[in-house]
């Protein structure tokens, strides 16, 4: 049973062109700019994120734009570093997801028959794993850390992409040009995949990934809120909110600022995803 998620209309060429089209170009610019800006957080941040620089609980003011937290760190610096680490984590998880899911999906989509069945059953199995509970259980036993949480989420994130890629690959595999390429010459399955199928699959995957980033950012923040993620004093947005909650009614900026930062990141990603999907979809 094929579940082609995020149905994109016909026309590979048009879709690829859409990705490079004028409308999409501005979004790629935003993406590049956002990534660059977040990567240069170390330069932008006025203080080191794990250095106590002043009295604790200073309200937002001229010297510390977002105030200081319960130990005396500069909240603005911690938030900037936190946004950077969240973005990096999201990119890593999605890349892993796309790579693993894409590989499995391509093979399944092209292979058909028993291999396809087996791979899809495995994918279904992973999809049935209750991701958050598993991530919590994993981190609770092997110890919370940035790496462990990334592994736990990646394990439950890739099946989504496997299904998309398989759906697209299946429909592409039925196309005359792929059939021709397969039977026509001594072309190996690898070259078939690389040169003919992957470019066709790419737009759907990119659209899905861009729509997915927002969800992933929220999932990372939620797990960090529950205590999984890099241990203190590392600047992790969800953890900062959770630890700051007890100061909500007396020093509101300590938990609210990191929470707002997550909102800004997720909102930006959602608009980005919408824009990319729109540009691709516009070219019918």
């Amino acid at each position: 049973m094929s579940l082609a998620i995020g149905t994109v209309p016909d026309g590979i060429v048009q879709r690829v062109a859409g990705l490079a089209g004028r409308g999409a170009r501005s979004w790629w610019a935003v993406f590049a700019l956002g990534t660059a800006m977040i990567m240069i957080a170390p330069v932008l941040a006025p203080y080191a994120p794990t250095q106590a620089v002043a009295q604790p609980f200073l309200p937002p003011g001229a010297r510390f734009l977002l105030g200081t937290d319960d130990v005396g760190h500069d909240v603005l610096s911690r938030v900037l570093y936190g946004m950077r680490s969240t973005w990096i984590a999201a990119i890593i998880v999605i890349s892993i997801g796309v790579l693993i899911g894409g590989a499995i999906g391509t093979v399944a989509g092209l292979a058909r028959g028993w291999l396809d069945n087996l791979l899809m059953r495995v994918t279904d199995g992973f999809l049935a794993l209750p991701g958050p509970v598993l991530a919590i259980a994993i981190a609770a036993s092997i110890g919370p850390s940035f790496g462990h949480t990334l592994i736990a989420i990646s394990i439950v994130w890739w099946p989504y992409y496997a299904r998309i890629v398989r759906g697209e690959a299946r429909s592409l595999a039925a196309r005359p040009f792929v059939e021709a390429a397969r039977h026509g010459s001594q072309i190996s399955v690898w070259r078939l995949a690389l040169r003919h199928v992957l470019p066709g699959v790419a737009p759907a995957v990119i659209v899905a990934a861009s729509l997915d980033v927002g969800n992933l950012i929220l999932m990372l923040a939620s797990l960090s809120f529950l205590g999984l993620g890099a241990p203190a004093p590392a600047p992790e947005l969800g953890a900062m909110t959770a630890q700051g909650l007890s100061y909500l009614l007396t020093s509101w900026w300590v938990p609210i600022m990191p929470g707002l930062a997550v909102l800004v990141l997720a909102l930006g990603s959602n608009f980005l995803g919408d824009g990319i999907r729109n540009s691709v979809g516009r070219h019918r």
Binding site: M1, L267, N270
Partner: protein
Amino acid sequence: MIRLVVRRLVSAVVIIIVLTAVLFVLQQTSHTNPIRLLVGANAPESVVQAARRRLGYDQPIVVQYVRYLRDLASGNLGISLRTHDTVAADIATFLPATVELALVGMLFAAVLSVIIGIGTAGGWRGSGTVKFVTVALASAPPFFLAIGGILIFAHRLTWLPATGQTSYLNPPSGPTGLLVADSILHGEPGIALDALRHLVLPSFCIAIGPAVSVGRVLRSSMQTSLASDYVRTARAKGRSEFSILFRHALRNALTAPLAMAGLQVGLLFAGDIIVETVFAWPGIGLYVEQSIPSGDFPAIAGVTLLLGVGYVVINTAVDLLQVAADPRIAIS
């Protein structure tokens, strides 16, 4: 159709076996001592060891695993190290509250995603604003939304209660386990209304994420569908806009949103744990969140298995719905 159901049943069993194996391995590698918590932190070591022997935790891991699977086959999920009740009884106590929250949340989400998806595609007035507001709210992490909701609606405006499922000490616990339904069946509309008031904030926090995800996919599918020849023909035939939207375009646009909805139900749980914690909602999210600090393995395993099986059931239901909506799918 039957083959599909059978295949899914088999995969459910496989999933249970794999999940339990994973959880057992995790329990072994973890450095926790839930037995000491069971008997009390300051207890003498001899008491802790006696309890460990009594509960069979001193056996080799493989023996424990086999025993667990054997018990599972007869419906025995073990005894919670924290509440001292059977895990099955605990789940039976806490699950209905989560089910009620999930049902109301999904209803909310369905309504919102229709407005976002069909409304914006069909150009309804105000749908753009609704879409914008919900997208903004869905970008907020669930804990932020929950706390903000409590601060604004419970603390500042005092329109809604802050926590819990009900303000009544002994509400009816009737046939369904869903407080709103039970209250109505027992003829207590006041309690039902109060239960609804308690449901508003938490179910909204649960609904917002899925509403936006499904809504966006629905919008995309609707746009495609509305541009198809089929709809163009219907328009040419002079059908009403409502009929075109809901009877013609929607039928062909349901596949992808349904798949996304199925996915979202699975992702629902992460937000559910946080929402139940912040709102003190007595469901299995709260139960699991309290089981983790005490390393209550039987409870964690029980809930994880329940979720895994539930996910398979929901996936199957979604697939069946998709076939019903678009019979062409069954052929592929």
